[in-house]
Amino acid sequence: MEVFIISTFSSKYFGWLASLLVVLAAGWFLLPTGYVTLIEWLAPIMGNYVRPTFVMVNILVVNPLGNLIMVAIWIIAGLVGGMMAGTKKGGILIAFLTWFSCAGIGIFCLLQFLMPIMEGTITMSMPPIPPGTSLADVLSIPLVQSFVSDLPGLIASMSGGGSGPDVVGLVMSVAVYVISPLIIAIIGGIVGAILRPKEEF
């Protein structure tokens, strides 16, 4: 029987592509309802980069305790990468590559999303909420739920009661949420490599 062989480098390379595909496809198709509502509302005015930007935000900014779907997706992506690489180092490398690839795509989408606004080529007047949808859906977005608890303090400080918004706290929260997918993917990659180590011929 003919045996199909993949080189070590090939396994990392295609592991990266497979892992990236898993994350992007799942992020696209499993976008929470709240994001979809926002996209349906804002995209007509703000352009076609609203959706990919929100998809990438949903992929990259993950509260590990509040967004179990994205946690699962990053674990699967890490496992796929780790299993195809067959080594722990390979799994970690694929996790990094996948995360950086997503970050690059996300930054690109964000720039494309913001450019027309900064150039003033689109007006920022908000259209009505489309029939059949409700902004209450936005509260179901895990990321929004994660930040709501910070809201009272932010409002209080911005209204003159304090020295200013707790920017450091907010940045730290965002940083933790951004780093979380990378850590999850790395763990997934290592586990994947353990589950299916490279076979020597």
Partner: protein
């Protein structure tokens, strides 16, 4: 905004404003003070069936129960201790918008909008909140005060379980948010002084489909009276509908907290505000209101001479009042209508308010009645005019176009004159669309059985769901001007992943091209290595 107090009074009747009028038709209550009347109704319960016909002959119907829902909600239970309020609402279409537009904002407190916050230029009004929420949502909102967080969560869980019990209501819920506000949430330097120690606000999505949610609300109510003759399916079939519950386990606590919050210890009192808010201070103990309603299309046309309240609620039998409590039926016709008769018409039990064309029946006094009927003159309403908007295709992708057709048809036998059809707002809302064709048209006359239409094309560059505001028709009939409109439509332009990918590559050139080239070369290189089986690979 035009404010018509007759509508305001009518729509707020489930918030007790009907009581002074009820007193005039309910001998037992006539001698009581408003406070005693409120207490009587709270203790005994009340139900109101309100029907309003606008000048186009289109109905709006609201059924509300006061007091009786307390039994189903079990508001005396410990799980409601320290609960300020609990509200469940499910809405679809334009009913709430319609109600707020009729009530207006001035009614809430004289010349200034009653609940306006000064920092909102347009006013923090119920209508504005509704605009922000959208037209279709199903939510439960509840607030507990001065409880440990775990205790508040526990009590909220018990309430959810109670509401989810199919033997009581049968709602189903999904978490949206829990927000706890206490001094620890604010930076110490803010020196925030709250009128409470802690406030736990819970919000859940009601996951029942709208029809189920409506049936659940109505199913939890006392159906020994008017409700027993109401067919819930009629609410679902119409262009806009809503149903909801509002429960306040201890009105005294809520008023006290509100006064403290608004007054900051400065002696603010709701009683010093306009009539509506002042009524709350009269109430002690728990109250609950449940209501369902709809707005429909034109049902009264030229030639009709009466309207049956039963037909508006799909009644198949007689109306009987509640076993306990007060039952009231109300019918309102437009001021342009000339009411010629009312049935049943019994002195002291039927009230006709001439200025506002409002009929009120004391259904408790009337007892079992086959139907409630209002008679009017045959030319009080215009012929059956239908305005409809269609989209072809029903959806598209960015770069695509839709052909929009607005058709006006005179289904009557007499002509209408000086028609003006306007549907030009989508281009004003969205600067990114291109509109071509006829978006408004004047027609001198439209005979019975004839129709006229306008057609225009909208081209979309972006994905999203586009709001097409009401297409409006103005016409004259019998020297009177009428306005009709379509519903607000949403048109979906779906994202095309392949198209979007192409756009991203093009927009990212030359960097995106270089990256793609490298990825492709890498793939080719590795496929070639796989084919050769080199570099010590492993089996897959």
């Amino acid at each position: 905004m035009h404010v018509d107090k007759k509508y305001a009074i009518a729509f707020l009747l489930f918030a007790f404003l009907i009581l002074p009028m009820a007193a005039s038709a309910y001998p037992v209550m006539a001698q009581d003070s408003p406070e005693e009347m409120i207490e009587l109704l709270l203790n005994e319960g009340a139900e109101v069936l309100l029907t309003n016909i606008d000048e186009n002959g289109a109905p709006a119907v609201i059924y509300a129960q006061l007091g009786s829902p307390v039994d189903s909600l079990n508001l005396e239970a410990e799980m409601y201790d320290n609960c300020l309020a609990l509200a469940v609402i499910a809405t679809r279409g334009e009913l709430l918008d319609y109600i707020f537009s009729l009530i207006g904002t001035e009614f809430m407190g004289g010349e200034e909008p009653g609940f306006m916050l000064s920092q909102f230029d347009e006013g923090f009004t119920p209508e504005a909140i509704l605009d922000l929420l959208g037209s279709d949502f199903s939510l439960l909102v509840s607030a507990y005060y001065n409880l440990d967080e775990a205790v508040a969560i526990g009590k909220m869980g018990q309430v959810l379980a109670h509401l989810a019990n199919p033997a009581v209501f049968g709602f189903s819920f999904a978490d949206i948010i829990h927000l706890r506000i206490d001094e620890s949430f604010f930076p110490p330097e803010a020196e925030m002084e709250l009128p409470f120690e802690a406030l736990d606000v819970f919000m859940y999505q009601v996951t029942n489909p709208f029809a189920d949610a409506l049936n659940v609300v109505l199913g939890g109510l006392d159906d020994s009276g008017l409700l027993g003759n109401i067919n819930p399916s009629i609410f679902i079939a119409e262009r806009g509908a809503a149903a909801g519950l509002l429960a306040i386990p201890d009105m005294g606590d809520l008023v006290e907290l509100f006064n403290d919050t608004m007054g900051g210890g400065g002696g603010f009192s709701l009683a010093a505000e306009s009539f509506f808010p002042s009524q709350f201070e009269m109430i002690n103990g728990s109250i609950a209101i449940a209501a369902a309603g709809y707005i429909g299309e034109q049902i009264l046309t030229y030639g009709d001479t009466d309207i049956s309240i039963g037909s508006l609620v799909g009644a198949t039998g007689s109306f009987v009042p509640m076993d306990t409590g007060v039952s009231i039926v109300m019918g309102i016709l437009p001021e342009s209508a000339n009411i010629t008769g009312v049935s049943p018409d019994v002195e002291g039990l039927t009230m006709h308010e001439n200025d506002s064309n409002m009929i009120m029946w004391n259904a408790t006094g009337h007892g079992e009645v086959p139907d409630y009927i209002i008679e009017f003159e045959s030319d009080d309403f215009p012929p059956d005019i239908v305005i409809a908007r269609t989209f072809n295709p029903v959806s598209t992708v960015p770069g695509g176009s839709v052909e929009v057709t607005v058709t006006v048809k005179n289904n009557g036998t007499v002509p209408i004159d000086n028609l003006e059809i306007v549907d030009n707002e989508v281009g004003a809302i969205y600067s990114t669309v291109t509109v071509a064709g006829t978006t408004s048209q004047n027609v001198t006359s439209l005979a019975g059985g004839e129709s006229t239409s306008i057609t225009y094309t909208v081209t979309f560059t972006n994905e999203g769901k586009y709001t097409f505001p009401n297409a409006e028709l103005t016409y004259e009939f019998n020297a009177r001007e009428y306005n009709k409109n379509t519903v607000t439509d949403g048109y979906s332009v779906y994202a095309d992943p392949a198209q979007l990918l192409s756009q991203m590559i093009l927009d990212g050139m030359p960097i995106s091209g270089a990256i793609l080239g490298i990825v492709a070369l890498g793939a080719l290189f590795n496929i070639n290595k796989m084919r050769k089986g080199s570099s010590g690979g492993y089996q897959v």
